[in-house]
């Protein structure tokens, strides 16, 4: 019985180790925010505030821009993501009939650095929509 108990707890320990090492986590939407789409360039608008030690995972986004709208998603800290700002997308200039729809709320396509906020830059014309994300 003693040997069996030792083997059992050793086995449980191995299983626990395996679970602790799992590396792939599928983010699912925890929060969503509206994007009013007002022109804010050159000052980026914070859509989701960063938290120390946590990353933002964007799980879905949609924009229905007016023609000529210039949109870019960025990450960084401080006001308007201006500290350490890096781009998540290129600067996308929309023409008539183009909309921007990505993701279904399960799985992420933009992984932000821990602590960084998510920002959007909208120039020239309106680009309203919404965005969903997880943070952990």
């Amino acid at each position: 019985m003693k040997k069996l108990s030792i083997a059992f707890f050793l086995f449980l320990g191995l299983i626990s180790t395996a679970k602790a090492q799992q590396s792939v986590v599928i983010p699912a939407t925890m929060f969503s925010v509206p994007i009013t789409g007002a022109i804010n360039s050159p000052n980026d608008l914070v859509l989701a505030s960063g938290q120390v030690g946590k990353s933002i995972y964007v799980t879905a986004v949609d924009l229905v821009p007016a023609a000529t709208a210039a949109v870019q998603f960025t990450q960084g800290t401080g006001a308007n993501c201006s500290t350490g700002k890096t781009t998540l997308t290129g600067s996308m200039v929309f023409s008539a009939g183009q909309t921007y729809m990505k993701g279904d709320g399960f799985g992420t396509f933009w992984v932000l650095l821990p602590g960084n906020s998510l920002c959007i830059s909208i120039g020239t014309a309106l680009a309203p929509g919404s965005l969903a994300y997880a943070i952990f």
């Binding site: 108990s5 997308t89 290129g90 008539a96 009939g97 990505k102 992420t108």
Partner: protein, 169 residues
């Protein structure tokens, strides 16, 4: 006897999914999930590397979007060396993106394109800019002594019994 029942219950609750579920040999052993994302500036350019390959690991593209100025022509290629010029092969054929077109694929879970191990990912953009972004996972896999393993770019290793799959819950 009481201990045996407890042991059986514990095994059923915590470990059943690990060993009980076999998968067909033709089915992927893991579903790639995004671990990295990059912006695509979208500048008109000849074939240009956007993700560097890593020996022994494959790039799995999990999501991509391009918002081209009309009309833009884009093509994705994999290969090694400078700008994928060595052993290059087409992943997505040259495609004209006309007015009103947005190229958007994938939600970040599951691969849209699977590259050969060690290959880099490159893009060609012609005529007009096509900015956007791309998400991917970089994963290596193999087996040692009949035990399959998955090595992610976070450095973690999952050991899975041969012929079985590891369920993340």
């Amino acid at each position: 006897m009481r201990f045996s029942k407890a042991l059986a219950l514990a095994l059923a609750l915590c470990c059943g999914p690990v060993w009980a579920q076999k998968i067909p040999s033709s089915q992927a052993r893991e579903v790639p999930a995004t671990t990295n994302s990059i912006p695509i500036a979208g500048t008109v350019a000849t074939q240009t590397q956007i993700i560097a390959g890593v020996p022994g690991q494959s790039i799995y593209v999990t999501s991509v979007d391009l918002v081209p100025a009309p009309t833009s022509t884009i093509q994705f290629v994999q290969g090694t060396g400078t700008n994928c010029l060595t052993g290059g092969s087409v992943i997505h054929a040259a495609t004209d993106l006309g007015p009103g077109t947005v190229f958007s694929k994938g939600g970040g879970w599951g691969a849209q394109w699977t590259l050969a191990p060690g290959n880099s990912l490159c893009i060609t953009i012609q005529t007009n800019p096509a900015p956007g972004s791309l998400a991917y996972s970089l994963v290596g896999a193999g087996s040692v002594g009949g035990t399959s393993f998955i090595l992610s770019n976070t450095g973690s290793v999952l050991l899975v019994a041969a012929g079985s799959r590891f369920l993340i819950q």
